[in-house]
């Protein structure tokens, strides 16, 4: 494409190699002035790498970058900021016990004579910015006291304060509630109308449809073209991203729930600081149904899972699996009583990365006599069993049984965890963020497997921070807020707005 001042950012023929691996293979990106431009791609496709090159964090091996039609060479973030580029990372970089103003001016302080900090003037400047863009942030509030959505706005303010004309937002909606996402969309519209250009990195199709004007698609480091979002559809974008048609709707028959399999009564759990994170929580999951727990991160979800797995102490209440109390026993006893878990963080809780695939495939069940008599572990049997999993669950690359599991992609690692959970025929399956960090194709697979397990008669507890996932997959939806279930609904009887309100603590209960 021609280089022109109509475009805020143009990156042509960008190549980036890491050792033998080519992360970006001749990528083109043309971002029109005053638009929201989305960069869509699966995890590991190279979206963030491309933006890190623009922001000067990496150096491209080949290719040219133009800003407003002028060629530039940006070799570090300071230069990027000088060129009017600002980046908001997925994980915020804020000082918790500083105020909003202090955080915004940090590193670019307003000083009076003799280098004395002029907080009065700084505050005025910040207030002006907040009002100009309608951010609704209190300049004097401390970061630790404000919501995640507001913290994100502070990050955007930081960039604007430094004179950013081009804003890069990396996965901006990952941590927000539906209401906060709406607000962010409003803010993005406002920024564009004031002349700014926004690039968002995301793999969420719905948000692209809502906010972006154009969308560039990256697949495995290759440029797959740019589409006009108004002329496109979610299915179209998904197909371009994955390279095949993907079924975005979760298809399932009605559930046929049977007896209660997992019963939680009056459960109270404290975290390591002694603060009650789960309070008097009641929940039943029947065999053959999926109960989904919707809620924002940090409302007691991880403590609930820890308590079920006997990793955290239940201060009060009971957890029954098929009528037998299992609270405060041991993870081994809970697993033996028929509970399988897909942990939220597969690298931390689910896998032993330096071990090979087949060793990971029997974690939880390595003690079974099937995998070796007495004290010995029979690696031939391990391999045979893993070969079966690899073909049954289409774990790639084929023949990876003896490879270290760290070499597999995230989606395939997750497949190993799910495969080992379901092949040992559990009665209760706890799926905690089962699709975290997975791409569209892998998510489809995980959801299908969960539903197949449900139809086999497994009681499934799905805990997810993705509201769409809970709404699409669950037969019953429960909302958790401050460690309590604040609402339970049958699927289809409740809308996103009502759930979002409950998740944020604005319930009628």
């Amino acid at each position: 494409m021609e280089v022109s001042s109509e475009y805020a950012v143009q990156m042509h023929g960008i190549v980036k190699r890491f050792g033998a691996f080519t992360a970006l293979d001749h990528i083109d990106l043309d971002v029109r002035k005053q638009t929201v431009h989305a960069i869509l791609g699966e995890n590991g496709a190279g979206k963030t790498t491309l933006m890190n090159i623009l922001y000067g964090l990496y150096k491209a091996d080949e290719g040219k970058t133009y800003l407003y039609g002028e060629e530039v060479g940006i070799s570090n973030p300071t230069e990027a900021i000088r060129h009017g580029i600002g980046m908001v990372h997925q994980h915020f970089m804020l000082v918790e016990n500083f105020t909003v103003t202090e955080n915004i001016i940090l590193g670019d302080e307003v000083c009076g004579t003799a280098g004395v900090l002029d907080m009065g003037r700084a505050r005025k400047e910040v207030t002006k910015l907040v009002e100009e863009y309608g951010f609704e942030v209190d300049p004097d509030a401390r970061i630790q006291d404000i919501s995640v959505g507001m913290q994100q706005r502070v990050e955007i303010l930081k960039a604007l304060y430094r004179g950013a004309e081009i804003l890069i937002l990396d996965e901006p909606t990952a941590v927000l509630t539906p209401q906060e996402i709406d607000k962010l969309m409003e803010i993005m519209d406002g920024l564009v109308s004031k002349g700014k250009t926004i690039i968002i990195i995301t793999h969420k199709l719905k948000e692209i449809m809502r906010s972006a004007h154009e969308c560039s698609i990256v697949r495995r480091g290759k440029y797959m073209g740019t589409v006009d979002v108004a002329q496109s559809s979610e299915n179209d974008l998904a197909a371009r991203m994955v390279g095949r048609n993907v079924n975005l709707k979760v298809e399932k028959a009605p559930a046929h729930p049977k007896d209660v399999c997992l019963s939680i009564k009056g459960l109270t759990v404290r975290d390591e600081r002694g603060i009650e994170q789960v309070r008097d929580l009641n929940l039943n999951v029947r065999a053959g149904e999926i109960v989904g727990i919707a809620g924002i991160d940090g409302n007691g979800q991880s403590e609930l899972v820890d308590a079920i797995m006997s990793l955290a102490k239940a201060r009060a209440g009971t957890i029954e699996v098929k009528g037998v109390e299992v609270q405060n026993t041991s993870p081994r006893k809970v697993i033996d009583s028929g509970v399988a878990t897909i942990p939220s963080d597969r690298h931390r809780w689910g896998l032993v990365l330096p071990m090979i695939v087949s060793e990971n495939a029997v974690l939880e069940h390595h003690g079974d006599e099937v995998y070796g008599k007495g004290i010995m572990l029979d690696y031939d049997k391990l391999r045979a069993y893993t070969e079966e999993l690899v073909s049954q669950f289409d774990i790639r690359p084929a023949g990876c049984e003896e490879e270290r599991i760290s070499g597999l992609s995230g989606g395939n690692q997750q497949k190993v965890i799910i495969a080992r959970s379901v092949t040992h025929a559990p009665d209760v399956l706890i799926a905690f963020q089962p699709t975290r960090g997975l791409d569209v194709g892998a998510i489809e697979f995980v959801h299908k497997t969960l539903i197949a397990e449900r139809d086999r008669g497994v009681a499934i507890l799905l805990i997810s921070y993705e509201l769409d996932e809970v709404m699409d997959v669950s037969d019953k939806i429960a909302v958790i807020y401050h460690g309590q279930i604040v609402g339970e609904f049958e699927q289809g009887t409740v809308g996103e707005d009502e759930l979002g309100l409950l998740m944020a603590g604005g319930g009628s209960q």
């Binding site: 797995m309 993870p331 931390r348 809780w349 896998l351 032993v352 071990m355 060793e359 390595h366 003690g367």
Partner: protein, 385 residues
């Protein structure tokens, strides 16, 4: 070229490369201090392998560091750093001496009893370190270094107690001869044995001038067994899982605390065994008042790292280490080269083994260069055509 690339990708290549670099650095130091490196290395090899007696001594001296090396490697593979090999070794010698002096059974009972008492002493000491780590979160390096000194003074205490002290000396009483694990201890001292050995000089060299004993055979057996335990049993699987990722291990129902204690128990037991075998196998068959650490535990660290923390790899690594130090003594005697140069060499080898990614990196570099050359060749061919 292909063979070289393939070889460099194997784990053993890093160790061999480190050894090569160690010799290179030592050669440079020798040359700058006015010694002929080739002559020195020649003497070094002669001192380690030149006579049957030398070879035997290298093997004898390799025995304890092979075991302490296996102990460190074993713990390391399960995520623990056993710095207490020294203390566990000393504990092994003390326990073996106490039991060997007190009991006097026929050899088939006495030998296992003495050897196992040493191993048990080391094991319990290791388990204590593991227990403190598992239940109170005290780092094993801190506690194991402390136990090193506690054991040293405990050993000195045993030497000085009336029941075990050998009058007018700084040693304890010698263990009863039924505990000895040398090869043919009685026969080689009998008239018949001496008559025979006079006719076979190389055998006389080995049997009469050294304390050739069965320790090294036991040590090789333990190294192989430890390897099998780690890689082929359910216990080893659990220990490794805990070592690599304790959180995932806990989540999947493995008892993390029990694993830590078990690992240190085994690791300590192997060091204790090293101590016991030195008491039964080599003179003076007893413990001596210690002024400072003897270094068996620390040398075990070097052996384990040269071996890339493979338990079986410790077998050649311990022989190399022992060969260098023993041969180094000859170098000092015959050429006046300070033995420190040998120590520098060992230090450099250990230093370079700490860079395990080195050999694979060279392999990738060679591969890329080869590819670049090939593409130039094809371009050139295309150009000619």
């Amino acid at each position: 070229m292909n063979v070289l690339i393939k070889f460099l990708k194997r784990p053993v290549a890093s160790s061999l490369l480190a050894i090569l670099l160690g010799f290179a650095v030592a050669a440079a130091i020798l040359a700058t201090t006015g010694f002929n490196p080739f002559e020195t290395f020649g003497t070094l090899f002669y001192g380690a392998l030149g006579k049957p007696k030398y070879i035997t001594n290298v093997i004898i001296k390799a025995t304890p560091i092979l075991l302490t090396g296996v102990s460190v490697a074993f713990a390391f593979q399960t995520g623990l750093f056993n710095r207490g090999g020294e203390g566990q070794y000393v504990r092994g010698t003390s326990c073996a001496t106490i039991v060997g002096v007190t009991c006097n059974f026929p050899a088939p009972i006495q030998i296992p009893l003495v050897v196992l008492s040493g191993a048990l002493g080391g094991a319990l000491l290791g388990a204590l370190v593991g227990f403190l780590k598992a239940h109170f979160g005290i780092h094993e390096v801190i506690t194991s270094i402390m136990t090193n000194w506690i054991m040293l003074y405990l050993c000195n205490f045993v030497v000085s107690t009336e029941a075990f002290h050998k009058p007018n000396s700084n040693t304890a009483l010698t263990v009863n001869p039924s505990s000895y694990t040398m090869v043919l201890p009685q026969w080689k001292m009998s008239d018949e044995g001496i008559d025979y050995l006079l006719k076979v000089p190389w055998l006389r060299d080995i049997l009469l001038k050294t304390d050739l004993n069965f320790g090294f055979v036991v040590a090789i057996f333990v190294a192989v067994l430890a390897g099998i335990l780690l890689t082929r049993t359910k216990l080893g699987y659990e220990l490794r899982a805990v070592g690599f990722n304790p959180e995932a291990a806990r989540f999947t129902g493995i008892g993390v605390k029990r694993s830590v204690v078990t690992c240190m128990l085994i690791s300590g037991g192997i060091c204790g065994l090293a101590g016991a075998l030195n008491i039964t196998g080599i003179s003076p068959h007893t413990i001596t008042t210690l002024a400072s650490q003897e270094g068996y535990g620390f040398n075990g660290l070097s052996v384990a790292f040269i071996a890339g923390c493979s338990t079986v790899g410790c077998i050649p690594a311990s022989l190399l280490f022992s060969g260098l130090t023993y041969g180094g003594m000859t170098v000092q005697q015959m050429m006046g080269v300070p033995s420190e140069i040998i120590n520098i060499m060992i230090g450099v080898i250990v230093f370079f083994t700490a860079l395990p990614a080195m050999a694979p990196k060279i392999a990738t570099w060679l591969e890329r260069r080869k590819k670049a050359r090939q593409s130039i060749d094809t371009d050139a061919n295309a150009g000619e055509a």
